[in-house]
Amino acid sequence: MHDATVPLLELVDITRSFPGVVALDGVSLSLAAGEVHAVVGENGAGKSTLINIIAGLLAPDAGQMLFCGRGVSWANPVEARRQGIVTVHQEAELFPTLSVAENMALEQGLPTGAAGWVRWRQIYDKASRAVALLGEPLDIHESAARLGVGQRHMTQIAAAVLERARVLVLDEPTSALTASETDWLFAQIERLKSAGVGIIYISHRQEEIFRLADRITVLRDGRRVWSGLRKSIDRGQLVQYMVGRERADGLTYGLARTPPSRLASRLVVECVTAADGRFVDVSLTARAGEIVGVYGLVGSGRSEFARAIFGLERLDSGTVKVDGHARTIANPAQAVSAGLAYLPEDRLRQGVFRGLSVRANCVLSALRLLTKSPLTSVSRERSATLEQIGALDIKCRDIQQPIEQLSGGNQQKVVLARWLLTRPSVLILDEPTRGVDVGAKAEIHRILRRLADDGTAVVMISSDLPEVMEHSDRIVVFRAGRVAGQFIPAETTPETITVAALPTAPASDLPAPAWASRRGFRPVVRSEMALAAALAAMFILLGLSTDSFFTVGNLLGLVSSAAVLTILSLGAAFIILAGAIDISLGSQLALSAAVTGIVLKLPYPAAATIPLGILAGLAVGTTLGLANATLSIAGRIHPIVVTLGTMTIYRGLLISITGGDTITDLPRAFTEWSSVQRFGINASVVLGALAAMAAYLGLSHFRWGRHVLALGSSPTAARLVGISKARTWLLAFGAGGLLASLAGVLELSQTGAMQSGMGTAYELQAIAAAVIGGVSISGGRGSVLGVCLGALLLSSIYNAVVLWQISGHHYALITGVLLLAAVLTDRAWRKLEG
């Protein structure tokens, strides 16, 4: 199998650096067809950077990548994927509001026919086959947000298998899988191998590596330290290469110090259980002067435990004592006053305030301690910060410098300083050295030891086994939400700890994820049914209370006046679905109608001016929408600011071209067409229905429409699968403008007049109709049917106000109450979805 003359994938001297860290330094790697090549190394060794370069997410600074002997450089992940390089990342980026099947399809680019017509049958077929391959009863129409982490990986792997990948990159694929799922995965890997696929396999688990790999490459601190056949290395050697020969040889774990039992207990946790069941019955003690290492795999409950102790997640039962006092900790502020501190695991998302200064970052949690009064004292903040900079040897130019300009290690030290300033009795650190370069790593370890010597109880959570072995006095191992054992480093071996941490019978051990029990209608369907019911109730109520409601004239009037709002709401929906907002739609509507009106008044025959006028109006509306998108993208400003400006500008343009005059006396043929009746319905209704149909087709059956939803669902995931934000926003805003102008032309025809206040505040009604119709304001979720129902409901309420002869002023109140109800229902559903 290894006699292929040309390697499938070859990396030559790849180098890549980030500010402050050289992540990869001249790394080479070669993968043959039908081979499993394991890449191993500690955290921060450069594995993820390597994967991201292979997957096309990062470009190397130097070095070459050869695919089938040809030099390649990926412009984006999609290109790599098209060539047959499929990567399954550890943290799956999903489109949470889209279905499982569509998520799978988007990874490879939606299969389309002519003009971007989406082949749904093909998507569902493929997804069904993938699910069949998994052998799990999984609903491919379910929204992806409901998948568990393991299931996300499984579906991605299954899709990759079906895709006939030539190179498959698996990043810690088993970290979230149960034992039976892992067996399935290994069987698939064997199958792919024999089919000639090259597999790059990243894992911390030595058992897996020695079972699967043909070849192993060891990375350490961004360099390749060893590479060769699996047969030529044993486990002990592998660990030595990972950890470093020099360090491994002279290493004595856990230096002799005062027996911990004689020291005062600072943190005593007894039998705590998480409210969501992610850890059960956990007890842990940390004493003054000791570093307690907490080791466990991702998902073993170790970080969840720390967050719950710190008041960020809810505890169900158990007691927490700090310095001998029992404490109820419901939020982080209470934890801090109890004497706890927690350094979070994800520095960028949970730790640093990137744009704020080093000083602001440093003192934030200790403001209450620095001054008793609510006023801040800059001089005390300054001296406290400087003191920490000295103590922790933080390298920065100036304490007013934004923290984002510091290296990863120094940022981490600032976050650590933030907690030291609160003078904690117990310091809990979650992955304190993740993504930190070697030098800073050693310094952080020295600082922790010094803190312990000064009497702080230090709890260090880490998935880096050598770190835990080397720097803790006692090790607590988490497995599947429970404490699996306690060890003294000097009296144990890394193998013992690893075995203790590995789930034995994971399928039964792991708490069942909360989503598993929830089934039923998909939320969109439910929201539409609720709307339809509300609408029906409204109609029945109106029919019973008034004689004139179910007359043809009234119903027709209701539906044709609803047509304008429906069309405009569809326009608003396009933009909201794409994750943006446009508050200039009312002005767009008016300006387009004005242009149409002006063309209609030209001294030419009506047969020429009417089509010309309508076309001109639609063209203007589309242009205005495109202008909004262009300004927002090119100027890099939020759409709400852009459209706040353009709503005024468009209104100004309107007054410029009309001179502020009302346009009346339009050709009769124009004012009458919207009310021409055929078979009991009029042209307004037909136009509204056509617009809805077109919007439905566009959003559901064309690739660009799906991209609009995908972008709104998750901008990050959209970037990963190569959906251009600029192009999608242009499309969405363009469609919004087109629909707004269509609504404008229709209203012009219905009313026969255009004044400069036309369409004022329409955008809010349109947004309200969309939200009532179930469109999520953060984008990515909603349906055309829902929007139409929402618009119809708002219009029928207006009709009711007229029929019941209530003063028209209640219309606004009812709209408000409805909107509030819609918002709260949406909230409740989303909470249910998790």
Partner: protein
């Protein structure tokens, strides 16, 4: 050294140039200063609203319901007064109405509803309540002792401007010199990290929306006094002018960057431009020509809109002054 000075000054170059131009325009047309100060009354109200709005935008939030809260407060005042209660009681009750409105907003947002959606809904709700309670009618005939609140001056300075300056100063202290203010910036910069850093995120946000409700009621009193009647469509569209002042000043809509000094600049630019353009729209006799020059309403709208977008782009490019 020069380059540092230039870099520090860059964000302010365009805004200050515009400010100077607008100020020069106003100054060249003024014959009676007191009359000009009177033209500032509506801008004093908007400016006062822009202060708390700045803090809200700094947390990454927004409050679209200020205009509707003003309408509801104005109507509430009129109705209570018409029942025969003294002005002072009616005014106190109106502040209570503002407090209640703000609490509704705060509760919705604490539930996890996005501020844009929550306040869009309450915007419709409060406006609807104002309409329904007043039956769309204005309540006129308010006593002179009350209308004086919105029409009088103190040592030549209109009450609205005094209100603005007082509220601005208070907000400046709170946002830039208190613990609470530090929390505001932290939340806007990284909400999740703020929670992890033991910042009481929900409490800070709730307090801001409640404060905005009370402020809206206060402005509603002055607004009602200025107009001499309680009107159900009071404050319509004022939320957008308020947000425009904040954005033009240079506070980022996504939060974390900006401040009260910038909003002062924003209010100055927007108000001077508006007042200046009002002069221009009358008729200006320029020294180099005999024909008077005049600007139309449309040109004013075009200018103001372009200014909002142009300055937003400018601020984004030069947003070096961040946080504290």
């Amino acid at each position: 050294m020069t380059s540092i000075v230039l870099r520090r000054a860059a964000p302010y170059l365009l805004p200050c140039t515009l400010l100077a131009a607008a100020a020069a325009l106003v100054a060249s047309q003024v014959t009676r200063p007191a009359a000009v100060l009177d033209m500032w009354r509506p801008w004093g109200e908007i400016g006062a609203l822009a202060t708390v709005m700045t803090a809200i935008v700094l947390t990454g939030g927004i409050d679209l319901s200020v205009g509707s809260m003003i309408a509801l407060s104005s109507v509430s005042f009129g109705l209570i007064w018409r029942q025969g209660w003294p002005v002072s009681i009616a005014a106190a009750a109106t502040l209570g109405v503002g407090l209640a409105c703000g609490t509704v907003n705060a509760a919705l947002i604490a539930l996890g509803v996005a501020p844009l959606v929550a306040t869009l809904a309450t915007m419709a709700l409060f406006a609807g309540l104002a309409m329904a309670l007043s039956h769309g009618e204005r309540i006129a005939g308010l006593p002179d002792s009350f209308t004086a609140w919105g029409q009088d001056s103190w040592f030549g300075v209109p009450h609205q401007l005094l209100l603005f300056l007082a509220v601005w100063f208070l907000a400046w202290i709170v946002v830039h010199h208190t613990r609470f203010g530090r929390y505001v910036f932290a939340i806007g910069e990284n909400r999740l990290a703020a929670e992890f850093a033991a910042v009481p995120v929900r409490r800070v946000e709730s307090m801001l929306y409640v404060a905005n409700g009370v402020l809206a009621a206060l402005v509603a009193l002055v607004y009602t006094a200025r107009g001499g009647a309680a009107v159900p469509n009071a404050g319509m569209g004022i939320e957008l002018q308020t947000i425009a002042c904040v954005v033009v000043g240079g506070t980022r809509v996504t939060g974390g960057s900006g401040g009260l000094g910038r909003t002062l600049l924003g209010v100055a630019i927007m108000s001077l431009l508006d007042i200046g353009l009002q002069f221009v729209s009358r008729k200006i006799y320029v020294p180099w020509s005999d024909v008077p020059w005049q600007l139309n309403a449309n040109a004013r709208l075009l200018l103001v809109g372009s200014l909002v977008i142009g300055l937003a782009i400018w601020n984004e490019r030069f947003s070096s002054a961040r946080g504290s």
